[in-house]
Symmetry: C2
Subunit: 351 residues, 2 copies
């Protein structure tokens, strides 16, 4: 692994849609944000809707009638791939904090091995959203020429201090929870409080003030839905955050969260270019790319998408840059299917 | 008090600079943000620099050679005025959560009584920064005609859901700290962890991503200044936040923080206008006003300053609206003394 550790017998969870062509030149690989698993869309084995159901499917923007689509759960995650919550075969116990230091380049390299394992020499398109966009840059930096086209969505060529501050505080909330216990929690003693705070802070930065002003305004909860506590939730926005936190806290492993969060802070294309993002980006070999950013995204601001677009252009790729005015901030790619579907579909149709 | 409680024998801490005119028509009253005390600037009794040292003083933007300047510590705070940390004369114990429900109108009304107590019938100017800007609106709504001119800085005519979400999460971090203990902490069992998280989240929203990118970038701490902890601070931005949290955690009372934070969420000029901010604002009687906002402020966005300016204009005041491009976000009024001093000084010179 990039920082020196090693994993033996690591596994990756992935799902596929569509059929590989004889030449295996129609593969689209999707790298995800921090929390989703490989279930991007419904399929025969799992008919439940996936996290990108509106984008991936027959006749959709990422058209599974045309492409052989693969979505992989990140190395270090807890949705089937090997991560800190997995059993270490050497000890029979979960890795926990003995899991080696993880970088997004490791996540990208693991995904590259998956593609090779599936007999794919060169991807028709590598798609990366949010953290997955950084993993995708890592993939392409380490394997130049292995990707023909790239879709980069709401991501960053390097972690900037505002995003680092947010993630550091999320990690701190988890680590300060006495139940975290240096990573040795169990279901009965679980850092639920820390995960709640981390998730709420995440949701606050994933959406936008303008969306919430329109959607929640100052609407209050019905009196019978308020807590007795004098400082308990009173406004709808508070119970919206509470719902998100409740759904997330037990469905994502806290140690995996810490590892992937820290990996995001570490990511920096400039490491590949003697301190220059533009120079680092020049190592990437692509034919064409689509770079999408959202004007209301405060976590991965538009300016960082412009840096990626310029860098790929200077590296010789033909780049479409699309700035969307979706009100939903960073999360727009998950919810503003109309705008994102149109942009991605138009690009994919040209491949 | 607005929500029905009452306080007996409440005190307000205040400081003054300059000399009242014979007619007592040269008074400037400053209402502060959530955390500062009454020490806005150095004076004979306390020569240490105040929180607005660059703005208040002889020949400065708020010229103490011309004006009799008063700064008051908010009711409900812990810097000398009566608040949840004060002793309840009825029990001899701190009020803690028995302190009555506090609103920013109560903070404004208390400040109005202070002015009356100082023999001031009508303020030459009422200045409100951040939370103090909301308290000032409360003051003017409840006492129309008691203020000649007004300076409104980086505040809001009503709390919007993004700000409510941030403050709700800050309160939750404090309340979830086992040492908070329903408000019954002491120095030995103090909700330090909760206060740290609350303050860091505050600082994140008080500044701007653009300032931090320029100031901290991805600069790392010297190896000998890093923590041993695998998830400990590694970047300068993390130790900057840690320094802020350390300085704040023990210097501001957690229960006072909860009361003032909740009061900010409750504030809404529309309550005075049958649901309309503009109609509520029309109850304010002013000759002139200066409304200042900062383009990089994410907590009290420029749009809310425009609402205040428009409202005061429709209420018949002559309004100067200034949008500053300070990079420091919400905190700019505390640090960008050059831009703020020029704007405030130009306005005060016309009074």
């Amino acid at each position: 692994m990039k920082r020196g550790g090693e994993l033996r017998g690591a596994r990756l969870a992935y799902e596929t849609w569509g059929t590989p062509s004889a030449a295996r030149d129609n593969a689209v690989l999707i790298l995800t944000g921090l929390s989703p698993g490989a279930h991007a869309a419904s399929n025969a084995e799992d008919p439940s809707p996936g996290w990108w159901e509106g984008i991936v499917g027959p006749g959709k923007a990422i058209d599974t009638d045309r492409f052989f689509v693969v979505c992989v759960n990140s190395l270090g995650s807890c949705k089937g791939s090997t991560g800190p919550a997995s059993i270490d075969p050497a000890t029979g116990e979960p890795y926990r904090l003995d899991f080696p230091e993880l970088t997004l380049e490791d996540v990208g390299n693991a995904a590259y091995e998956l593609a090779r394992g599936l007999g794919i020499e060169r991807l028709a398109c590598l798609v990366g959203c949010s953290m997955g966009g950084m993993s995708a840059l890592g993939y392409m930096l380490h394997h130049p020429g292995s990707v023909r086209a790239h879709v980069s969505i709401s991501t960053a060529p390097q972690a900037q201090p505002f995003a680092i501050a947010i993630r550091s505080l999320q990690r701190e909330a988890i680590r300060l929870d006495p139940n975290w216990n240096e990573g040795r929690y169990d279901d009965a003693h679980y850092p639920e409080m820390g995960m709640h705070i981390a998730r709420k802070l995440g949701v606050i930065t994933y959406r936008s003030a303008i969306e919430w002003s329109g959607r929640f305004g100052r609407i209050r909860l019905e009196p019978d839905k308020r807590e007795e506590d004098p400082f308990g939730a009173e406004f709808q926005i508070e119970s919206y955050l509470q719902g998100h936190a409740r759904r997330f806290a037990r469905s994502f492993d806290p140690n995996c969260y810490l590892y992937l969060s820290r990996a995001s802070d570490w990511f920096d294309v400039a490491e590949y270019g003697h301190g220059s993002i533009a120079e680092g980006m020049r190592r990437i070999r692509l034919e064409r790319a689509l770079v999408i950013g959202v004007e209301t995204d405060i976590l991965f601001p538009l300016q960082q998408q412009e840096q990626i677009a310029m860098g790929l252009r200077e590296a010789g790729a033909e780049v479409d840059f699309v700035a969307l005015d979706s009100p939903q901030g960073h999360d727009a790619f998950l919810v503003d299917i109309e705008r994102f579907g149109a942009a991605i579909g138009a690009f994919m149709a040209k491949l």
